[in-house]
Amino acid sequence: MNQPLLSLQNIWKSFHGVPILQNIDFEVYPGEVVCLIGPSGSGKSTLLRTINRLEEPDEGELYFQGVPQLHSHTDVNVMRTHIGMVFQSFNLFPHLDVLANCTIAQQLALKRPAMEADLIARQYLTKVGLEAFIHAAPASLSGGQKQRVAIARALAMNPTLMLFDEPTSALDPEMVGEVLSVMQALAKEGMTMVVVTHEMGFARQVGSRICLMDGGKIVESNPPQAFFTSPQHPRTQAFLAKLLR
């Protein structure tokens, strides 16, 4: 098999003495769509945020494209331009219009000229179906539209890895579908993705691997077919049993 795009080794993280991640080993290969599921407080979001170092682990090493990131003088900002992130609460920049939301980081972090950034931003906004809203203020958009702008904003950086932190949890039920279909299309194109989600349907259909987390550990990691039909670990069985009820 080829090189993992991302590799976390022996990652430990605690907040105020409470262990959140306990000796995590986690690898993501190019083209994979890894879905992290599990109960609240199990460490899914913290694991995701450790990948682009919004959280700094206490111990362990993080390799991105084979390069160690934590115990070296690599620039965290360079790695972050290669890793897109989509948040539960969208976090669009409210003082910028939709287009500027998608160009500002291209210009500041990638030093792309304004014209080029503009072109790329429009291309991705079209892709998420929002070409008609490029000059709208984020506040005037619906939740689903905001999240699609957030996805376009991340994609405009041409990342090699996309992180999604419960991207549909803050949405009205009617708007979940439009965001999931954008993500599904992205997965189909071969984008490498790590998705923290409670959407089991999405995990099952789109995921290439499902990881169940509990108590700061990855309990089980398997392709969806095996994960949902013949779960190995008793914790997975209990989790799935609750879902079905």
């Binding site: 900002n77 992130m85 003082h95 500041l108 972090a109 950086m157």
Partner: protein
């Protein structure tokens, strides 16, 4: 000078209007420049206070960061913890002792600026802290540096939100620059005192003075409410209280 109140006021306005107006001009100059320079210095103080801890911080960086933060805290504590009247005397006569005589008006501008900086630093810091931390995370996740995040994402939002409070500082300064009469800055209060010394008719003189202060603060309030409405931020309600009482919009952090 006539004996009656209204006649007295009329007499004073007729003969001393240039002195009142010049005093008012100086007061406005002090308040405006003090607020502008105070804003610039206050930005600097707030920045020093908020220098972030980087994950791979060297010992030297840590010492520098803590010193900057300590300086900012001490500065704010001192300037908010002593009356501006006392600050004026210390700065004016202190500098005179060290470097020789200097113009009182310049000293006045320096004092108001330094004093206002302490209040505005706290306003800006509260404004920055009030911005959702998701904004910071989103910007950093896109590869923006801390500085770029602050300048392009956080500050534009924070400043817009605190413009009403900065406007309040200007209005407060219009009133509080009256204390600069102790170092003989010829602002409105000082000139009023001079006029009243001529006739010993304090009531009539200071009636005019108070009306002038009131008109200015009223106009400034109306102007600022207009600005706030245009910016779409919450509006100022009335004329604020003195700067010597921390303003309720300042969010104090527990220390």
């Amino acid at each position: 000078m006539p004996v009656g109140f209204l006649e007295g006021v009329g007499y004073l306005l007729e003969h001393y209007w240039p002195l009142f107006l010049r005093g008012l001009g100086t007061t406005l100059l002090l308040a405006a420049l003090g607020t502008i320079f105070g804003f610039i210095l206050g930005m600097g103080l707030a920045t020093l206070h908020l220098i972030p801890k980087s994950p791979q911080e060297t010992r030297l960086q840590q010492v520098g960061r803590l010193l900057a933060k300590g300086f900012s805290r001490l500065y704010i504590q001192i300037f908010r913890g002593t009356p501006m009247m006392v600050q004026a005397i210390i700065i004016y006569y202190g500098a005179m002792r060290l470097w020789g005589s200097w113009p009182a008006l310049l000293a006045g501008i320096v004092v108001v600026s330094l004093n206002t900086a302490a209040y505005i630093a706290e306003i800006i810091r509260a404004g920055i802290n009030a911005i959702d931390k998701g904004q910071h995370e989103a910007a950093r996740s896109l590869g923006l540096t801390y500085g770029q995040t602050m300048r392009r994402i956080i500050l534009p939002q924070a400043i817009k939100n605190v413009i009403p409070s900065i406007g309040n500082e200007f209005i407060v300064n219009v009133k509080d620059t009256s204390v600069l009469n102790v170092i003989a800055v010829t602002e409105l209060f000082y000139n009023s005192t001079s006029i009243s010394m001529t006739f010993y008719r304090q009531f009539e003189v200071f009636f005019i003075t108070s009306v002038l202060y009131f008109i200015i603060t009223l106009l400034a309030t109306a102007f600022l409410n207009g600005v706030d409405r245009r910016l779409g931020v919450r509006s100022v309600v009335g004329i604020p209280t003195s700067a010597t009482v921390p303003f309720p919009t300042h969010r104090e952090d527990p220390q």
